[in-house]
């Protein structure tokens, strides 16, 4: 059982702390529209009916019925599936999954624009670029994470860098000691649409209820241990207690 596990880079997105600010969306767009691979084209950006290519979107869902509702901000990008259904269907081998780190990429110079891969992605993670006329998708900022010109702490996807609440964590999910693996393990990480068997690498962490339970006796002074022994009577609400005499 000493088989070496393959590296699989991925994002873990914590739905409990995402505030839906779209900083990851704009940061992603800014980085990926400025690179050597060409722009993420915006068609008619300031006119009527604008349309643009994005690698990452933040959507918002309402769960429950008012007033008992919960608001879920839901960032969605390519999940870099371990069994990516978009890859084997690409006729020109433009879509591929990297052996070394499991990132699913599109070779823009090989794409013929048949859009067959987008049909084979249940998550709608791929977007067709109307400028370059090729299919595009999240690259996990492959042009950042290995760039030795960047300082070590900057070798992260642009969305992760931008997130103000640290809702996005980046790492190798097949390394059990990595931060992403720990988060998945300890906070109930789950995958999207597991029913299709695509084994998405990106995981999401669920909403967690923060519950503070206060018993009635905690509202009055109950910190005098002597009362348990029955040596002293329970102090009155406004009486001085141990805390008032001592500085711990």
């Amino acid at each position: 059982m000493d088989k070496k596990r393959k590296k699989q880079l991925a994002l873990v997105i914590d739905l409990n702390v995402c505030v839906g600010c779209h900083a990851c969306v704009t940061s992603c767009k800014q980085w990926n529209t400025s690179g050597w691979a060409g722009p993420l084209t915006d068609v008619n950006p300031y006119g009527e009916n604008p349309s643009g290519t994005f690698f990452n979107r933040v959507q918002t869902f309402e769960v429950g019925t008012y007033p008992k509702t919960d608001l879920i901000h839901f960032p969605k990008s390519c999940l870099h599936c371990e069994d990516a259904p978009c890859v084997p269907v690409c006729p020109t081998e433009a879509s591929y999954k990297r052996e070394e780190d499991g990132i699913v990429l599109v070779d823009y110079d090989k794409c013929i624009g048949c859009k067959y891969c987008s049909w084979s992605c249940p998550y709608g993670a791929r977007e067709f670029d109307e400028g370059q006329k090729v299919m595009k998708k999240c690259t996990l900022c492959v042009d950042r994470i290995y760039d030795s010109n960047l300082s070590e702490q900057e070798r992260l996807p642009a969305c992760v860098m931008a997130c103000p609440t640290s809702a996005r964590v980046f790492g190798d999910i097949n390394d059990s000691d990595s931060q992403v693996s720990q988060r998945i393990r300890e906070h109930g990480g789950f995958q999207l649409m597991p029913e299709w068997g695509t084994k998405p690498s990106n995981h999401y962490l669920p909403r967690r209820k923060t519950v503070v339970s206060i018993q009635p006796d905690q509202l009055v002074r109950a910190d005098n241990p002597l009362k348990i022994e029955g040596e002293l009577s329970v102090p009155g609400k406004d009486d001085r207690s141990l805390d008032d005499y001592t500085s711990w």
């Binding site: 739905l15 779209h22 969306v25 009916n49 604008p50 349309s51 643009g52 290519t53 994005f54 979107r57 933040v58 959507q59 918002t60 869902f61 309402e62 769960v63 429950g64 019925t65 608001l71 879920i72 839901f74 969605k76 259904p85 084997p88 269907v89 690409c90 006729p91 020109t92 081998e93 090989k110 794409c111 013929i112 624009g113 048949c114 859009k115 067959y116 987008s118 049909w119 084979s120 992605c121 249940p122 998550y123 709608g124 791929r126 977007e127 067709f128 006329k133 090729v134 789950f190 995958q191 999207l192 649409m193 597991p194 029913e195 299709w196 999401y204 669920p206 909403r207």
Partner: protein, 326 residues
Amino acid sequence: MRPAFSVIFLTTLIGVGQGMFIALFSARVFASLTGLELLDANWFYGVGSGCALLFMGAGLFASFFHLTHPGRGIYAWRRWRSSWLSREVILLPMVMVVMALSAMSHFFAWDQFFLKYSGVDLTWVLSGITVLLCILLFIATGMIYASVRFFQEWATPLTVINYLLMGLASGYTLAAVFAHTGFSSGYSLGEFLLYNALLFTVLAWASKFWALSRNRRLQPNSSMQSAIGVHHGTIRQLTRGFTASSFNVREFFHGRTPATLFWIQRLFLTFSFILPVILLLVGSWLNLIPFIYSAFVVQMLGLLLERWYFFAQARHPQNLYYQNVA
């Protein structure tokens, strides 16, 4: 999803081409089995195969409009091990080349020449290979759609069977039309082709009906709950994250009302199957050739509508993420 006209024309036109070639081949088998004497057999099969080839070419031409970089299409064979689209890209030109050779072998009577020196009837060999490749191409075309498991409406063997039967139905109808254009072979084979056109139109009708009733009962595999991983009975999208348009919205929503879809379905069922059957029957009973001609035109119109509906009815799980603008 949104139907792409290039693909609608590609699939219907190559379907006719393959169907017609198979129809002519079967007529030839029929003639040789029943010992029919055909005076202008080589002309008939040669011109007929050429006609089938024209439809294949028109289909291929339409396919280029689907690609934004058709020039790179030359590399589209590379994923043949796993992609049915790749396999179609390989098979389509192969079928066309062998079909062209087969047409020429009839047209220029190569069979006489080869028969004399090798003892092998080249036309039989070439047209046999073409028929085999045509059937493989039908399977490849059907599997392109049937293999996308996310479109549950397509992910069934019925998709392949439908493509095959509708191609054969329209191919036999065109061959029946062709048999009524004055070839003396046509007089002998016209009835055979026409009755087969009727048979395959009825079979295609039945299998299409089966597929439609299957799709009516379909339960979506994915739900809002599995899409965002929140297991609550009431989930509503407040915003898809942008107010503008995007690829996901354009490609996967047809934007028509359910009523439009309903009427297109009724129209294609009438035009592809019911009317051609009536026209072919009346045409053959009363020997009214214009009826047979119009059967093909009507059926083609119907099949174009059928293909439109085939794409429009397909619902993609990604649509769960794109339900509300804001």
